[in-house]
Subunit: 346 residues, 2 copies
Amino acid sequence: MGVAASIDDVARRAGVSIATVSRALRGLPDVAAATRARVMAAATELGYVASPFAARLATGRTSTIGLVVPFINRWFFSEVINAVEASLRAASFDLLLYSLRDDEGRARFFELMPLRKRVDGVLLVSFLPSYKELESLSTMGCPSGLLGIRRPGLLSTRIDDVAGAHGAVAHLIGLGHRRIALIGDDPKDPMGFTPPGDRRRGYQRALTAAGLPLDPALEVHGYYTVSGGSDSMQQLLALPDRPTAVFAASDEMAIGAVKAIRAAGLRIPEDIAVIGFDDHPMAQMYDLSTVRQPVAGEAVDLTERLLAKLEAGGDLAVSEAEADVVLDTELIVRGSTDASRSAPSS
Amino acid sequence: MGVAASIDDVARRAGVSIATVSRALRGLPDVAAATRARVMAAATELGYVASPFAARLATGRTSTIGLVVPFINRWFFSEVINAVEASLRAASFDLLLYSLRDDEGRARFFELMPLRKRVDGVLLVSFLPSYKELESLSTMGCPSGLLGIRRPGLLSTRIDDVAGAHGAVAHLIGLGHRRIALIGDDPKDPMGFTPPGDRRRGYQRALTAAGLPLDPALEVHGYYTVSGGSDSMQQLLALPDRPTAVFAASDEMAIGAVKAIRAAGLRIPEDIAVIGFDDHPMAQMYDLSTVRQPVAGEAVDLTERLLAKLEAGGDLAVSEAEADVVLDTELIVRGSTDASRSAPSS
DNA sequence: CTGTTAGCGCTTTCAA
DNA sequence: TTGAAAGCGCTAACAG
């Protein structure tokens, strides 16, 4: 087989017109069973597959979804990419991947709209599009979905960060803790992530609900990194009246905190209890209590709803009812808050 | 802007033919500066972008690369995907991502060739295509590149796993160790990865080169997971004459080993030294000596050479000289083999 | 330097 | 149930 077979080759071989080949191969009705069989046979013999580009030109549909992520090589996002890829594959859609990386990349994306005219739908993961960006997005003329963030008029799937954080802190309170610190917030976050603020809110509400005071000294920036978590834990340990428990708004920061606590010669959870957020694979390795979010579940839910929307017509308008789905988080109690649940090995 | 502008709209607005628009916008020569300016202006005013599908149909080139990985959500692969995406983006190529996941997905991929007729080139990451699979790949009629594996007739970029492992073990020997164990091999690896065998070979050669005996009891399966590493370390610790050092063929396994050693109440590196492979981000967190491989560097090198090949004509034949690039690994000495290099905090 | 024209390989009326 | 023919929106000779 020198050059790939085209629809004409199949038509000739099956002794029918190209129109019939097209219909037969796509499973359209009004094709005689015998004819269809003959066409299918010819197609397999020639190893024929329709050229997607010709089909796209003719139909206007691309069978491709653009997936836009801030980063590729970070746990959360690679989980999302993986789940989206699987869902799309199952629906015979192609996945066009685009990574923003930084402010510059983000600006370039929204200015050039490089996915324009090449996807049927767009999925934006975990960053908040500005009003201008949304407008720019709308010039693509295709439906889009937001993962982790809610915006009126767009599909979205997310978790309730406030509730998740609330649950984590309530767990600590239930354990008898009264001085509970928060390691969170990244004051120089370039993507405008919303979870940090929500998780802080959940922390504050849980304290307030339990009648505990909010102490600004107990709220520190962790920059959502291991080292940031470690640094801010040291800061907390230096406090005259140090906390007995810490809620870190991400597992990375929690692990940093764990390291700092151990380095100070203190025990976890006896001297200080620690709980994180996400259920990153490392959380288990560090025997860290945390709030699990169903990352793949969110991705699958959103992808499938976007595909359903395309199938249903694909107009841009989204009804209130269908727009937003909120998935549950789950409190995972391990040894870092409850000694009785400690994993066997260090 | 209701429906997206097409080339005719631009032509009309600029008062030229569509051919001139095409030429002007693609920066082809033989277009008067004034004309080009007029066309560009019209294009921006209309927010015009050429439909990639029409262009692809007409030229036969897709400006798209297919990236085929065994997994998406694992450190190594997400690093590769990230680097490839960046390289392609810089060259204005699109990235079509495909994940194999398991035997079944792999079979489906090579049977259906879902990337056929939609990419100009293919990148296969870290799995060894069988002869049949390579044949199937060749029906795509486009050049391809292999990351991490060498195959005659295909582009490839990789590291020398044998040499890397050799270096790690030589480091241990240089430290005075004489009984050195190997944690490696995954007897049920579905992807046919080649690094495990090569790393074992490097281990054996280093011992032999130093005149040390090979003791089969010191070579255990680690399954390339944390828990596998932990289990096999326990096995090694139970040996009557236990090793004083361990080379784990991946950082994950090394970390498992570290946990098992600590759980047994032994000190690292005083009682047992541990070195891993890869320089996974966790290696630093565990103060683990390791062999760093330039993951992104490999991906970028391969991608750029594939793009260069496409630009140069894109025929399938690959000369011996251009085919294979081997990048250097780097020995990273940390506290798990050398106490004097210990990181400050645990 | 620019315009005309013939495809690229499909899908989709419209007729038969 | 099938075929002929007209696009889809571009690029690439070929003239001029």
